[in-house]
């Protein structure tokens, strides 16, 4: 990238659609679908039969209020639904019931990013196109699965406050962690319960007004979001550098090819003919509803990270990791409640050793009990077991459960005693005359070969530093 190109500043805003984890759909009594047979979660209302009417899901409104309060939004005293009209087979009414000029929540903030609005709407049905094209044009036939149709959605729109692809992805992860913590959505991007669009523009550094923006649609991971925005920023920079102009358009990012394709330009933009939905009455949250929503809010990731950093003096990155993955944070804090002597060491064990073992899974789903982890970490701290032996113990505890002391005993993983260690060191010195020679000749790094031999012999039950000291003592160094 040349210096000339670098003078542009990206301006990014994010729109996130979240499927709410309510029991039933937004405007009918059908239960939400989780991979059931197609068209088994339907009724006359969500199939838009003649004569049916929508009824707003109170739980969806409750979740919407929770999200609005969590993001510090202003809750509209009375918000209304509109009809957004368009013909497509994924929309059986040929309009989506959504919110338009009076949304449920406005304003707000998450981290450093201002929230523009939060509103409620309904999801569309799923189309499956048979044939090679995979799209409706050129498909041999298309079938519709209405199971998803009418699933409650919350749309969260930020102000254009993000200045890099990395910031956008970081914000997305914080929002995802926040919503997951609240239990209002599965926030699974691959399954589509969380979908991200990004509005991207660039402007000369220092310029206050915005450039023409493009919209990146439906990226199904934050990594792709980041790469997509990077690609789009680069494309815009190159276009401007070549003297071109940016077209307002909707783009699709192909993560495999790394390419951007235009979906539709502004000239083809729909006229959605929005008008107030006459079948619904305004949503006017009562004080009681607001109190209930507020009471339902748990401690949110940003606040938790701040608390862990402040109260336990954890490093910022560690605190953030424990907060963004609340299952780790929960495990950690439960363990800490059992033994609060080693908060940092316990945190490191949680985010390093434990996650190495469980991956993206929840440690609570293993046989390991949080207080047991705390006990093991305490034994490491008290030098009753070496760190490397403790890793082996942890693997056993995760797989089979039990008590660390018993596992150590049973597997002979207890720290080698001084006498035993002395014998082993003596043997190592005797077996490695070359290394001894070199050490005596002043090549200090040659001691590694002796330490390695001792560690192999003790199967990790000794502490490397202690072994080194003992070797030096025995060699009279």
């Amino acid at each position: 990238m040349t210096e000339a190109v670098r003078q542009y500043e990206p301006v990014i805003g994010i729109e996130i659609h979240v499927q709410l984890a309510t029991r039933t759909k937004m405007f009918c009594g059908c239960e939400l679908s989780f991979g059931e047979e197609p068209n088994t979660r339907t009724c006359p209302v969500c199939l838009a039969h003649p004569g049916v009417l929508p009824v707003t899901n109170a739980e969806a409104v409750h979740f919407g209020l929770m999200i609005g309060l969590a993001l510090g939004c202003e809750i509209a005293p009375s918000s209304i639904f509109h009809r957004k009209n368009y013909f497509y087979p994924d929309s059986p009414k040929a309009y989506q019931i959504s919110q338009y000029d009076i949304p449920l929540c406005t304003g707000g903030r998450l981290g450093d990013v201002r929230i523009h609005r939060v509103h409620l709407e309904e999801d569309a049905a799923k189309l499956v196109h048979a044939g090679s094209s995979g799209r409706i044009h050129g498909a041999e036939s298309s079938v519709v699965d209405f199971n998803r149709c009418g699933t409650p959605l919350v749309e969260i729109v930020t102000e254009p406050d993000l200045r890099s692809a990395a910031e956008a992805a970081e914000f997305g992860r914080l929002l995802q962690a926040t919503l997951r913590r609240m239990g209002v959505s599965d926030v699974n991007m691959e399954e589509g319960s969380l979908r991200v669009d990004a509005n991207v523009s660039i402007r000369p550094a220092g310029q206050a007004s915005f450039g023409t923006k493009t919209e990146l649609k439906n990226m199904n991971s934050f990594r792709f979001l980041e790469r997509g925005i990077e690609a789009e920023v680069a494309r815009q920079e190159q276009l401007l550098a070549e003297g071109g102009t940016i077209q307002q358009e909707t783009l699709h990012f192909d993560p495999e090819a790394g390419s951007l394709t235009s979906l539709r330009s502004k000239e083809e933009a729909h006229d959605y003919r929005y008008f107030p939905e006459p079948d619904l009455v305004p949503m006017a949250p009562t004080e009681e509803m607001l109190v209930r929503a507020r009471a339902a809010l748990p401690e949110l990731p940003a606040a938790r990270a701040e608390r862990l950093e402040r109260e336990l003096e954890l490093p910022a990155d560690t605190a953030k990791l424990l907060s963004f993955r609340s299952e780790l944070g929960d495990f950690y804090e439960t363990a800490l409640a059992a033994d609060s002597d080693h908060p940092r060491r316990l945190a490191n064990w949680t985010i390093n050793e434990l996650t190495a073992a469980v991956g993206d899974g929840d440690p609570a789903d293993t046989k390991l009990e949080p207080p047991v982890l705390a006990r093991l970490v305490a034994m490491v701290a008290d030098k009753q077991v070496s760190a490397s032996a403790a890793r082996e113990v942890l693997a056993v505890l995760i797989a089979k459960g039990g008590d660390p002391a018993q596992v150590i005993e049973a597997q002979g993983l207890g720290r080698a005693g001084e006498e035993e260690l002395g014998d082993i060191v003596d043997r190592a010195i005797a077996d490695n005359p070359d290394a001894v020679e070199k050490i005596r000749a002043g090549k200090q790094q040659a001691i590694g070969a002796l330490v390695g031999a001792v560690m192999r012999e003790t199967k990790g039950r000794a502490d490397g530093g202690e072994v080194q000291q003992m070797i030096r003592a025995k060699l009279g160094e």
Binding site: H49, P50, G51, L53, N85, P89, K93, Y95, I136, F275
Partner: protein
């Protein structure tokens, strides 16, 4: 048994209650009458007598009410043969009160019309003069009750679709307060205006049916029900009640209709009521506002008829757009297409404020006019229709003339208030309707006043040839 023909539904209910006649016998009688309909009033007649026909005589149901397993097409070819999988709340309420479904009645397609000539299944003849229209859109329901092929019926009123055909057929038609009766299962025309109500022989029957129909429905967020139970009307006098007369000097009001209505005002005074002329300054713009709001809502409500899930699908298409276009071009009638286009235009970006926005403002002004009027008077009274029944084909080529048929009935639904039309006499041998409107939820009072008037008018039904 043919005695039943001359009896009101309420009287028949009494006979069933006293055991003089069984519900099954009453149902059988009316099923036979409905099967003999030769006015085009019915699109479907029940063939079997239900196991338990109930404590009330059976009811003829406008085609746009969904009845499980019964053809319900809203008078449209696009829904020909459509069998609903559920029953409208209003119909279920009637069934639970003891009135079985007798048949489905003809109507203007999707309730768009004032003559029933817009039906996808042919026109309906007025039993008073077979060369004339029965009014619309609930023309089949009105004609069936007037001709004695149904003891009573339900219809829907959006801009006058209960009251105007009741007027043209010489029967009673009540449009309740918006929200009094559930709209769930009524195939929608204009959601903010549509309301279900009775078409009956007399005022008592209307009250009896309203009692069964009304109620809050959890399936309809806009439904409220009536705050108090409907009482059967009993007033003999109108002492102390003030009636505000509107529209009798309007241009376009037929002189014969005006004359009969003036005589009705005299009768109000004879019964002790006070009559004064009132102004409703914005009500004259009702038709203009109505023909923006109703088509706008209809353009969205009718968008679901796309050939994808049910109803008619054109066999002529190569792609999705072609299927949509041909299905709708072939399935909808001319008037429906006209209103979809008007409504789509009115909601278009750049025109929304000028049309839909302005129409909504007019709508609130009309509501304010009524609110101001009800400070001075208890009821607003008008002719129901500017003319008596017109000839079949007379106005089909002139939509504006047709739209003006609803001049006196459109302001009330725009304001959400109830109104009843009762027959008040004949002009040129054809019935004239008199409309009584009151504030929201004043149904019982309106019906009481209508009852007192009905007794003194002594209107006879269709003359037996």
């Amino acid at each position: 048994m043919s005695d039943l023909l001359g009896l009101t539904a309420a009287t028949q209910a009494e006979l069933i209650a006293s055991g003089e006649v069984s519900g099954a016998e009453v149902f059988e009688f009316w099923r036979g009458r409905a099967a003999e309909d030769d006015l085009g009033a019915y699109l479907w007649v029940e063939e079997e007598t239900p196991a338990d026909p109930g404590r009330l005589p059976p009811v003829a149901v406008k085609d746009l009410f969904c009845v499980e397993g019964v053809p319900s097409s809203a008078g449209s070819r696009i829904l020909e043969g459509y069998l609903p999988v559920y029953t409208a709340t209003s119909v279920r309420n009637l069934q639970e009160a003891g009135a079985a479904v007798l048949g489905k009645t003809n109507q203007d397609e999707f309730a768009m019309g004032s003559s029933n000539e817009n039906s996808g299944f042919g026109p309906v003849q007025n039993p008073w003069d077979r060369g004339r229209v029965p009014g619309g859109s609930s023309g089949g329901s009105a004609a069936a009750v007037a001709a004695g092929t149904a003891p009573w019926a339900i219809g829907t009123d959006t801009g006058g679709s209960i009251r105007q055909p009741a007027s043209l057929c010489g029967i009673v038609g009540l449009k309740p307060t918006y929200g009094a009766v559930s709209r769930y299962g009524m195939i929608a025309f204009a959601s903010s205006l549509d309301q279900c109500g009775p078409l009956t022989r007399d005022v008592t029957d209307a009250a009896l049916m309203l009692r069964a129909l009304e109620g809050r429905d959890p399936c309809d967020s806009t439904s409220l029900g009536l705050p108090e139970a409907v009482t059967l009307p009993s007033a003999e006098r109108l002492d102390g009640l003030r009636f505000g007369a509107w529209g009798l000097a309007e241009e376009g009001l037929d002189p014969g209709v005006a004359e009969v209505c003036r005589r009705t005002l005299d009768r109000i005074e004879e019964l002790g009521g006070g009559v004064q002329e009132i102004e409703l300054p914005s009500a004259g713009h009702g038709i203009s506002a109505y023909y923006v709001v109703a088509p706008a809502e209809a353009s969205a409500n009718l968008a679901r008829y796309d050939g994808v899930r049910y109803g008619y699908r054109s066999p002529h298409y190569d792609d999705l757009l072609g299927m949509y276009e041909n299905t709708r071009a072939e399935g909808f009638g001319e008037e429906v297409k006209r209103r979809i286009m008007i409504g789509t235009y009115a909601l278009s970006s750049g025109y929304y404020e000028a049309y839909y926005g302005t129409a909504q403002k007019v709508r609130s002004k009309i509501a304010q006019d009524f609110a101001a009027a009800f400070e001075q008077v208890d009821f607003v009274v008008t002719p129901t229709s500017p003319t008596v029944a017109f000839e079949l084909g007379e106005r089909t080529a002139d939509p504006l003339a047709m739209y003006l048929s609803d001049y006196f009935t459109v302001p009330m639904p725009l304001a959400g208030i109830p109104a009843v039309s009762i027959p008040c006499g004949l002009s040129e041998g054809l019935p004239v309707g008199f409309q009584i409107a009151g504030p929201a939820f004043s149904e019982s009072r309106i019906l009481d006043a209508a009852y007192a008037l009905e007794r003194t008018i002594g209107f006879e039904g269709v003359p037996v040839p």
